[in-house]
Amino acid sequence: MNEEQAINGRLQMQKEEDYEAAELAPPAARPSAPTHESMGEEATGKASRDRKLYSGSAARRRSRNIRSRLAYSLCALSTVIATVPLLLILFYVIYQGAGALNLSFLTDLPKPVGESGGGMGNAIVGSLILIGIAAVIGVPFGVLAGTQLAEYRSPRLSWVVRLLSDILSGVPSIIVGIFVYTLLVLTFKQFSAIAGGVALGILMLPTVARTTEEMMRMVPDSLREASLALGIPRWRTITSVVIKTAAGGIMTGVMLATARIAGETAPLLFTALNSRTWPTGLDKPIASLPVQIYTYAISPFDAWHKQAWAGSLVLVLIVLFLSIGSKLYFGRRMKRAT
């Protein structure tokens, strides 16, 4: 197909779409339709069609069918457009990373330049530790803030909490890293896993708080009333009825927030730093997947590039596991709750 044909083809498609959008069948499909389009004929055609549309229910049904099919196709198309880059990234990471991925990559320490083999075992463990610390900080405070927003509808405090959470979610992660650097690293003169975990935990806060708020708002007031009417105190109603009912959704939010911070690199550069050894303590620098990937990727060595790809693959798999797993497990629970 040459270029002209291609363009014509696209124009033809465009035209057909226009017809559909105007709820008209293309001329060929309409026996009484004018073959040459002039404004006048088009107008009368439309008028007679309109009359048919509003007099006959069959015609109306047909137009509704076309419209709903068009809407459906547009949605399907957008889904494809949105999914393609994701799949491309995924396949490319698998294509590049699978070669270097093996058991020793998952379990071994990195080797110095020039030696072959070695892995990112310490970075994987380090990432899990950092995520753990982040969750210990981010989840309780996030859930508390979300609960405050959803349950205690005191306008002034909610305004402050919401503003803080909005600002925080807009702050670039590197700024959070510098903040924690100033707060912890400079104070204790020590890069540490704790500092890295705190930075990631702060980054989790707004997502967890917002999801918690939204999920708790989805719990109908009738359940709160049911609980209060039994003589169950307010705080008990919140913890045992509202949070329990919303737990599935809140957990999904926590998982998604975790998935998001799992790949954060910038805030770790100033806080957890990096390490070539297994983690030795929470008050010591610690390796993490994103930082290790970053270090290897900008190095001039081919073998390290391969390892960076393998590390990326592991990271992507962790993130996918977290988000898909949480959706599957908790999505079902949530549906039952509402």
Binding site: S222, K244, T245
Partner: protein
């Protein structure tokens, strides 16, 4: 006697708009009292005043008194949770806890509000309450299933069992049958009949036949104009209200000439 409620000049307003006003009635213990009246006249508002359920809604003001066993439930030393434990409520739309099992729904009040209780005692109360609510036979083999899996009528009886389990003196019911089919309605009316020897029941209903069937006393409420607060127009033995009411408005409403 436990479960005797008197209201004194009771009023309620939402955000400055008076919804009910000037309600003074004596609700006798161990009887069924029905509240009837056209929709929007403040029946639910009145009922919810009787166990401090309005406190959830910001901007609500209650005036007057509700005396329950000699104590004003709105007095500063009264604890709202204690009031609600003694004066339970069943709502218009069945609202079981959807994720809790049937038995956990019934025992929720015991587990979350009362002090520690032995498992055996809780199981006993669960069975007793479900039997009182005429639901035991239908659910005894699936007590572990979620409360949301029952039919609408069963859910409402589950809510009644749940309210009974905390052993209140008074049970308030806000149009408990309005969302139910006739068979379920019948079962709930039978339950109400059984319950009244041990409980004081106040039931709001828009169904006058139901009021006539189940109640000993009836109060007729009315808001004269759309913007007027609702008042208790007439209150007395059901027989009298339905056969020879004192007030013209009551007679009009009962004979269906308005509303």
């Amino acid at each position: 006697m436990a479960g005797y409620i008197t209201t004194n000049n009771l009023g309620a307003s939402f955000g400055g708009v008076q919804a009910i006003e000037n309600i003074t009635v004596e609700i006798p213990a161990n009887k069924v009292t029905a509240i009837i009246g056209p929709s929007g006249c403040g029946k639910s508002t009145f009922l919810r005043c009787l166990n401090r359920m309005h406190e959830l809604v910001p901007g609500t003001k209650i005036s007057g008194e509700v005396i329950w066993d000699g104590r004003n439930i709105y007095a500063s030393e009264m604890d709202a949770t204690e009031v609600r434990r003694g004066i339970g409520m069943v709502f218009q739309k069945p609202n079981p806890f959807p994720l809790m099992s049937i038995e956990d729904n019934v025992s929720a009040g015991l587990r979350l509000a009362a002090g520690r209780m032995s498992k055996a005692r809780i199981a006993e109360i669960i069975e007793h309450s479900l039997k009182l609510a005429a639901l035991w036979d239908e659910v005894k083999n699936k007590l572990g299933r979620p409360g949301g899996s029952l039919s609408g009528g069963q859910q409402q009886r589950l809510c009644i069992a749940r309210a009974l389990a905390v052993q209140p003196d008074v049970i308030l019911m806000d149009e408990p049958c309005s969302a139910l089919d006739p068979a379920s309605t019948q079962k709930i009316e039978d339950t109400i009949d059984k319950l009244k020897k041990d409980y004081t029941i106040v039931i709001v209903t828009h169904n006058m036949q139901q009021a006539a069937r189940v109640s000993d006393f009836t109060g007729f409420m009315l808001a004269r104009e759309m913007s007027d607060p609702g008042r208790m127009i007439e209150y007395g033995p059901t027989n009298k209200i339905f056969t020879m009411p004192d007030r013209k408005e009551t007679e009009n409403y009962i004979t269906g000439r308005f509303g």
